[in-house]
């Protein structure tokens, strides 16, 4: 357990420590584990060196929009595939599983062509729409819905609850842990999107943090790692906050029973 904690925590600690060090102290041998003196200069360099607040705003917009779209569509699609009878249900499910097998990089060029022809380059629409596919979420939520006790659903049907009402009042309250796990995975995935936004965004009006922060690095010259680490810390903090908030609900959901004996 200690080894696992070290493997996870040490790099995170190193990032934070380097972000608080003066430039020469980052490279000392032997390594200095505590920043001395502690400086916030790297954080102000991030603010002045790149349009940090613009990139932060863009990351929030992209992540919130994509998470909302993916969670709503994922839940609705999963519910339909789990509980509703309609022609071609098996085919739709097969398409979803097939979509899971296709790496996103394969569709990147054709997506770019489509986005470009629609005039969506350098826009939030161009970044968000092609990333809004919900194959993973649909698959995850459908499998979870199928594991729910059938008695509860039968009771809802006897109470003449329609599909939407059953979903909102019965199915979702029993699905919080999975739903929050799905939301969390989506938030982290979308927050860290790099390649697609890099191709579509031209400037700080729509580019997210991972793209913007590369400007702090210098491929052929000399990268000042202090601001890079400070930028990394500032990028991680919102996700850590979201994770800590959702984690509590996830545990709550796990302990809440639906069927009484």
């Amino acid at each position: 357990m200690l080894i696992v904690i070290l493997v996870v925590a040490l790099p995170l600690y190193w990032i934070l420590a380097a972000a608080l060090k003066e430039r020469p102290d980052i490279y000392t041998v032997p390594v200095t584990w505590l920043p001395d003196p502690v400086t916030a200069e790297n954080f102000s360099t991030v603010r002045t060196g790149v349009d940090f607040l613009d990139y932060l705003r863009n990351s929030i917009i992209i992540t919130v929009m994509l998470t909302a779209v993916q969670v709503v569509l994922g839940v609705l699609s999963a519910y339909a595939l789990a509980f509703l009878r309609f022609p071609g249900r098996g085919v739709v499910l097969m398409f979803i599983i097939a979509a899971l097998m296709v790496p996103s990089q394969i569709t990147m060029i054709s997506n770019y062509a489509l986005v470009s022809s629609l005039g969506w380059r350098n826009s939030f629409t161009g970044i968000i729409v092609p990333l809004a596919g919900v194959a993973f979420g649909t698959f995850l939520m459908r499998n979870h819905f199928l594991s729910l006790p059938s008695e509860v659903l039968e009771a809802a049907e006897m109470d003449a609850a329609g599909p939407i009402r059953t979903l909102v009042r019965v199915v979702l309250p029993m699905s919080w842990p999975t739903l929050i796990a799905f939301t969390l995975i989506t938030v982290v995935n979308e927050w860290n999107q790099y390649l697609w936004p890099l191709l579509i965004a031209d400037d700080s009006s729509v580019a997210p943090l991972p793209v913007g922060l590369t400007q702090l690095q210098d491929a052929e010259g000399l990268t000042n790692w202090g601001p890079v680490m400070a930028g990394t810390v500032l990028t991680m903090v919102p996700i850590l906050v979201v994770f800590l908030l959702l984690q509590r609900h996830m545990i709550k959901g796990l302990t809440a029973g639906a069927v009484k004996g």
Partner: protein
């Protein structure tokens, strides 16, 4: 009512699902964009109101690029949109590949020594010679060897911009501590001898640090392989398995094993922090090192026997897919951006080499060299440079392929002959498959 709800709900869900599946896997057909007149048609460059320039700001040059763009806008009245198109040359190339498939091309794009040729071969870059005549560019004013790096099939596909040679940087204090003369080693054998002295005088400090295969070791090693009588290729014929090439690979591996050479993923900072006695890096690192190091360092030619050094860096190209008026305006912009005055400004900000012959003689340059003798090395070394081997710069994926092989023999410790034989075969396969049909 229940059935109606269910039917309505299922329609909504399937409709939504279809939309998102379409979003996830858009069609694979190419899309016709509303192209302006095709390249080659007569047009007036004065009609162009704005240009888009894709750069990765090499050598931390974003500020100086913005400064030069502001000067251009003031002089020509054309707005230039500077796009940070990637973190390095390879990402810019990746982005250009996407744009070639999907439209919305830039007007000017930075193309590196290893990316320009494939774009030229597939007619993605516009040949410039005719544009030079139309716009009135004095192509002869550019340093001949740098200009000719972009020549293929009797045409030129870029003009030099952020051009560099590899340099040997050395920490003068550590050199003195080891009792070494204030100069770089003249040959790699001499460096091998000096390595032991450096290790003894400066314990726990690598005598020499170089980047790994993902960060241009393939570029730096090219000079070394020549000094051993080897090469990556003889034109399109791979030569990784010749005696000289194998000997160079074994020497590189031996230097790592004896502790004379450390392979690092951030060699510039390692040297800059005093954790290495010397460094193999681009002239593009000179500006940053001069600004940040707290010790005195010197620069020297790469060890010989010469020729043991090549040019590198990037040029500025114009996509063939934009209309003629835009191409002419783009050509005017490149000519301005790389003119004598501006190449001097760019050089002094970054450490890259001036690309104009006249720039080498300006008062400003001479005064700068007087003040910064380390910058003189690259210029003096320029006449010793040789063009790069096709296997690195013209064969698709060549640099990355060679870099991966060098990682296998340095950090991986694998047998040099085995690795180079595989590399030779892989390169030959790519040449036969991707190059020969197009020649």
């Amino acid at each position: 009512m229940n059935a109606l709800n269910r039917r309505t709900a299922s329609r909504l869900v399937v409709g939504g699902l279809a939309l998102t599946l379409l979003a996830a896997c858009a069609g694979t057909g190419s899309v016709d964009t509303d192209e302006a007149p095709a390249a080659g048609t007569t047009a007036d460059a004065n009609e162009v109101e704005s240009l888009t320039f894709w750069s990765n700001h090499p050598g931390g040059s974003k500020e100086v690029e913005e400064e030069l763009i502001a000067a251009y806008e003031a002089e020509h009245g054309i707005e230039v949109n500077l796009v940070s198109a990637g973190a390095d040359y390879e990402e810019v190339a990746q982005r250009l590949n996407a744009a070639l498939a999907g439209g919305d091309l830039p007007d000017v794009v930075i193309v590196s020594d290893v990316t320009w040729f494939n774009f030229a071969l597939t007619d993605a870059l516009a040949p410039m010679d005719e544009l030079w005549e139309t716009v009135g560019v004095d192509s002869e004013g550019y340093v001949d060897s740098l200009r000719e790096d972009y020549a293929f099939d009797d045409a030129h596909y870029a003009l030099p911009y952020s051009r560099s040679t590899p340099l040997f940087y050395y920490n003068k204090d550590m050199w003195e501590a080891a009792g070494l003369p204030d100069r770089g080693p003249e040959t790699w054998d001499e460096f091998a001898e000096w390595g032991a002295d450096l290790q003894e005088a400066n314990p726990d400090v690598a005598p020499l640090v170089a980047p790994d295969g993902s960060a241009y070791l393939d570029w730096l090693f090219q000079g070394m392989i020549w000094t051993f009588g080897g090469a990556y290729s003889d034109e399109w014929e791979p030569t990784f398995t010749t005696d000289g090439s194998i000997a160079a690979g074994e020497f590189l591996q031996d230097q790592v094993e004896t502790g004379n050479l450390a392979i690092s993923n951030d060699p510039n900072n390692q040297f800059g922090a005093g954790q290495a006695a010397s460094l193999l890096a681009s002239t593009g690192s000179l500006g940053g090192l001069t600004e940040t190091t707290e010790f005195e360092f010197g620069t020297a030619f790469l060890p010989g026997p010469q020729p043991g050094v090549t040019t590198g860096g990037a040029g500025l190209g114009i996509p063939a897919g934009i209309d003629r008026a835009r191409q002419e305006a783009a050509m005017e912009f490149i000519a301005f951006f790389t003119n004598t005055e501006n190449t001097v400004t760019f050089t002094q900000a970054t450490g890259y080499m001036p690309v104009q012959k006249a720039a080498l003689e300006t008062e400003e340059t001479l005064a700068f060299l007087e003040e910064n003798p380390n910058a003189r090395t690259a210029l003096e070394q320029l006449e010793l440079t040789s063009p790069q081997d096709y296997a690195r710069v013209f064969v698709p994926g060549g640099g990355a392929r060679i870099g991966a092989a060098l990682d296998r023999i340095t950090t991986g410790g694998e047998d040099v002959e085995t690795v180079f034989t595989e590399l030779d075969e892989e390169t030959r396969t790519v040449v036969e498959r991707d190059i020969e049909p197009q020649l």
